[in-house]
Point group: D2
Chain length 104, copies 4
């Protein structure tokens, strides 16, 4: 017997189809975070470090928006087809995530 939001959606997360793409993207972001450490260690110019931080933030943001779109296309759309309560719950959960993205 399966219950709870996590279990219910476990088998069809929208993003699984692009798992490799996502992992490649995240490895690049990890590399950029290491690059930032090198810049600080080598005492690079502050503005150049800030430019690099903006590039990482922007990469994370693109990743988020991609993940969110896949989530909406799968989890939210599926929930909408299950019923009103399920739809409302998934929309409100997605909105909380969007709030965090927007307000940062």
């Amino acid at each position: 017997m399966v219950s709870g939001v996590e279990d219910e959606t476990e088998h069809h997360h929208g993003y699984i189809g692009r798992k490799d793409d996502h992992l490649k993207r995240l490895r690049r972001i990890e590399g950029q975070a290491r690059g930032l450490q090198r810049m600080v260690e080598e005492e690079k110019y502050c503005i150049d470090i800030l430019t690099q931080v903006s590039a990482v933030t922007s990469a994370l943001q693109s990743f988020s928006l991609q993940l969110l779109e896949e989530h909406m296309n799968h989890c939210v759309v599926d929930a909408a087809r299950v019923g009103d309560a399920e739809a409302k719950e998934k929309v409100s959960e997605a909105m909380a995530a969007i709030n965090r993205l927007v307000r940062k």
Copy 2:
């Protein structure tokens, strides 16, 4: 013989005094980026991944704002004391970085 903005400011980047703090922070961010890969590999729930991405973005933003404050307190203030042209140049460079931070 010294010339150019980079050389001129090389010896007193504002952030050097806190280099260890910054490196510690950036290592934590690198760890968080690795944590994100683990979440994707283990096919965690999309919304939980998004929450974690927001935490990384927020950590990068705090780092940026700290770096910017140190830059203003040192490079911008020093430039202001050198002359009008120097001040204007540093302010406009800082504003470009602030623009990138704000507009993301």
Copy 3:
């Protein structure tokens, strides 16, 4: 004869139920924009004006997020129930709006 996305959704925009709330909010925002003009005319301190601009931006952002939630609960959920193509179209349209909100 009905055709096109706009017509299809015309009768059940999610936000209509709260029209009065939205109008009240927007009138307050308009008042704040007028207040900003007064501050500039009276040559108030720049930082105080910036604080006030942040308040207006924040009010606009709350309005956007509220509108978006209503849109998701109505238009997106309804489209999900009509069919896959309709769902995909509405999600991609909502994502474009979210992108503009996030990237500003």
Copy 4:
């Protein structure tokens, strides 16, 4: 005898030279806020309203960044020339405003 930050800077706010430009910009923003009310009253499509809100937010942001640049070029630079304590105070005040802009 006059003292205090506000009085000290009253006569040379950076933005006064462009007062008319700023007022024109803010009047346009006020008009956009009125346009939003019209859109809600006429029950326009949610996504079109969101697009318009993004335009207003973006206009407010440009105004903020312009004001901030003028503030840095005048108040911050002037303070840097007065002394270390004055510089630190103005930088920290500007950073608080930048924080509000970035975090929204």
